[in-house]
């Protein structure tokens, strides 16, 4: 009966599959309009670039742009309102629990199995496990397809790190060789070493403006991700199995302190740095090192955007040393997935658009400079022909760094209510950075806030969600 209803629904959506009529990899819909919502700008650019293909498939795309920080509000508002305006939604996967858990998204398993596979199969087994398990699934079902594999990467100025004068000076001062920092302790030393005033000399050149060792994401929104890179590498995890916050452990406080200390070697307005400012500071050649999302690597190689073409090195995000072993963790804030709204009247077409972006066109998208998308499939790492770097070695280095960081990936909190938990953490991190509170007080405050949020949302259900999330972290191999 249910099956019949689905068939009926499919018929209603006016899908006609005529294998002979069109090229083998495009379906043929009968003038369906698919409304897509996402964060406006380069993350929706793919819809324009491949518009012809959608037209050929009989689909008209209608785009609705939200702002980067306003995307969640926009989507959630529409979901809560129960409207069926949006067919395909692009969102940050930390909201998968919220959206799937509240029944706003259509499960995709059924569409993924459709035949012919060349049209419908999104090849999920080829997706890197963290993205597949944590980004796309909720309580065992697939609700989303990956679109943007975000992981933080350490970028540094290869030219400066290899400069003989600088190397000698560093050796003299710190008694070890100058190299990309392996630990957060080393990060501070390197940052201190490279911070220079205007008029000082850097790699033999007299500086016309100040040069800084490093910078952090200081603006509201994603500052917490830069804290997580410290927190997670000291074996931190958001909660214990009973949902008691573990965000204010001594190691966590030390991690936040490290981030606060970095500001001494950062530009004075670093607290207003969001993605764009942080990226520009590095691409303008004002920073020796920066931790940033994986797409920045591609941008360092674009002469239109970058003054440091060919000078950027890519490495693993620094780690924390414990018992003689260094643990590295690279947070995975943001990222993007594609999902189909449960209320959509054109689910099948919406699913296919998602699948086409997530699989067929993805090698081009993730390698391009016009997009904000980053690699998430095995093939994006093995077939590097689309990347535009000045030399083959840079491509290899870039892809290897992203892959290595992903192995150490640390997921965003993705249970229902994530927006509230994360906001509380983000505010506290910034308070510590701005000196309004010391790291310990700030993080103790987060633990209190988190307890309150859990209480408000229902302790039992939250605990259940959290344990399911832990399960998915394990399935992705990110947690033992």
């Amino acid at each position: 009966m249910k099956r019949a209803a689905h068939l009926l629904a499919a018929g209603f959506g006016a899908v006609v599959w005529t294998s002979a009529a069109v090229a083998a990899d495009l379906p043929s819909f009968n003038h369906v309009t698919v409304t897509v919502v996402g964060d406006a700008g380069q993350n929706m650019e793919a819809l324009n670039k491949y518009a012809d293909d959608f037209t050929k498939a009989g689909i008209t795309i209608k785009q609705v742009g939200a702002t980067f920080t306003g995307l969640y509000d926009k989507l959630k508002t529409s979901f809560v309102a129960g409207s069926s305006d949006y067919d395909m939604v692009i969102f940050y996967p930390s909201y998968i629990g919220d959206f799937a858990g509240n029944g706003y998204l259509a499960p995709l398993d059924e569409y993924m199995k459709k035949q012919p596979a060349a049209i419908w199969d999104p090849k999920m087994d080829e997706v890197m496990p963290p993205y597949r398990e944590i980004y796309c699934k909720w309580e065992g079902k697939t609700y989303a397809l990956p679109y943007d594999g975000d992981v933080l990467v350490l970028y540094y100025r290869k030219d400066l790190f290899n400069n003989p004068d600088e190397k000698a000076a560093f050796q003299k001062k710190y008694g070890r060789e100058l190299a990309p920092p392996a630990t957060w302790k080393e990060w501070l030393q390197v940052a201190e070493f490279f911070t220079r005033k205007a008029g000082d000399t850097l790699a033999g050149q007299k500086l016309s403006r100040p040069f800084y060792g490093a910078a952090e994401y200081g603006a509201r929104g994603f500052s917490y991700g830069w804290f997580l890179s410290r927190f997670a590498s000291s074996d931190g995890i958001y909660f214990d199995e009973n949902m008691n916050p573990e965000i204010n452990t001594d190691a966590a406080v030390a991690g936040l302190q490290n981030m606060v200390d970095t500001l001494k070697f950062s530009p004075p307005d670093v607290l207003s740095y969001g993605y764009e400012e942080l990226k520009n500071a590095f691409l303008n050649g004002d920073l020796a090192m920066v931790v940033q999302w994986s797409d920045v690597g591609k941008k360092t190689a674009d002469p239109q955007l970058s003054k440091i073409v060919g000078k950027a090195g890519f490495a693993v995000v620094p780690g924390t040393e414990a018992n003689g072993k260094v643990v590295h963790k690279a947070p995975m804030p943001v990222g993007r997935v594609l999902a189909v709204s449960a209320k959509s009247k054109n689910k099948e077409a919406a699913y296919w658009v998602a699948k086409y972006l997530s699989l067929d066109k993805s090698p081009i998208t993730v390698a391009a400079n016009w997009s904000g998308q980053d690699p998430y499939r095995l093939s994006h790492f093995t077939d590097t022909s689309h990347y535009k770097f000045p030399d083959e070695a840079s491509v290899k280095e870039y892809v290897a760094a992203v892959e290595e960081n992903l192995k150490n990936g640390f997921p965003d909190l993705n249970i229902p209510g994530a927006a509230q938990y994360i906001d509380a953490l983000d505010v506290a991190v910034i308070k510590a950075l701005s000196g309004e509170a010391d790291p310990k007080t700030a993080l103790d405050g987060v633990a209190e806030d988190w307890k309150g949020i859990t209480q408000r949302l229902g302790a039992d259900t939250q605990k259940k969600f959290w344990n399911a999330a832990l399960e998915s972290y394990r399935a992705a191999g990110l947690l033992k």
């Binding site: 406006a40 700008g41 702002t67 306003g70 305006d85």
Partner: protein, 272 residues
């Protein structure tokens, strides 16, 4: 030089200073709307762009600005019309017949004092059930709620200033109450209607709080479009500035050509 003319000079210098401070941001946004991409990130900043980049204007129109303009216009115009159609009779009744005594008038005024956020939330839940989220009707309704009290309050003041004699004469001639309102009182309140029309339009045109929450794929007023130009990866300053210039045009026209109505509208009739 006499003490008097020194004071005179000091006064003009002070006024000039005030003008510079008040108009500088406008200059900056006009200059910014003509800057090329790279000119937003230079130190020191570019004050006057070397080659005006006019393309920011068509570009911002094409990226949703056009829809923003037409949506904003539609909504502002409808809200203005509804506010006048409902507000004028109400104002007349309150002014001439003291309906509801002082309480009604004050209740109406107090609606304007509400923090919008106190009503946005329940309105949202109600709109959700009524299917008014992301619709023109929904936003028109929201704006009418804060425009209507304004319209009633201003028109009430204008009507109270009208001499009663003409209306009474018409009454003796056998005109009905509604005829008196429509044929005599309303035409005489024309300046009041102008004030109300201008300001209700501008209020709706300028709003952001309601727009950002109640808009969506169907309706995207200009202020919301401007906000969308600030993407996660790039803030399109040129396009934002160009759209902002278009967004302040109605207000500029108001301040330049209809200055004599400005005072009364801005002060909600407190200054005549």
């Amino acid at each position: 030089m006499s003490k008097r003319s020194l004071i005179e000079i000091a006064r003009w210098i002070a006024l000039l200073g005030v003008l510079v401070v008040l108009l500088f941001p406008l200059f900056w946004i006009i200059a910014s709307s003509l800057k090329a991409r790279g000119e937003f990130f230079t130190r020191p900043p570019v004050w006057i762009p070397s080659h005006p980049e006019w393309s920011n204007y068509p570009d911002s129109l094409q990226r949703g600005g056009m829809k923003g303009l037409t949506d904003s216009f539609t909504i502002a115009f409808c809200s203005m019309a509804v506010s006048i159609v409902l507000g004028a009779p109400a104002a007349y009744a309150i002014a001439r017949f003291q309906v509801g005594k002082k309480n009604l008038a004050f209740w109406i005024l107090s609606i304007r004092m509400f923090p919008p956020i106190a009503t946005i939330l329940p309105l949202f839940v109600i709109f959700r059930f009524a299917g008014l989220v992301d619709s023109y009707a929904g936003l028109v309704l929201c704006y009418t709620v804060f425009n209507l009290p304004f319209a009633i309050w201003i028109l009430k003041g204008f009507i109270e200033d009208l001499p009663k004699e003409i209306e009474e004469a018409a009454k003796v001639d056998g005109a009905t109450r509604f005829q008196i309102f429509r044929n005599i009182a309303l035409p005489l309140t024309a300046p009041g209607l102008v004030v109300v029309a201008l300001f209700t339009f501008i209020f709706a045109w300028n709003d952001f709080a309601y727009a950002v929450i109640f808009s969506g794929s169907n309706v995207t007023p200009l202020p919301v479009v401007i906000a969308q130009f600030a993407g996660g990866h790039e803030i399109l300053w040129g396009q934002i500035s160009a759209a902002a210039i278009m967004a302040i045009l109605p207000a500029l026209i108001l301040a330049t050509f209809l200055q004599k109505y400005l005072t009364r509208g801005l002060t909600m009739g407190a200054v005549k």
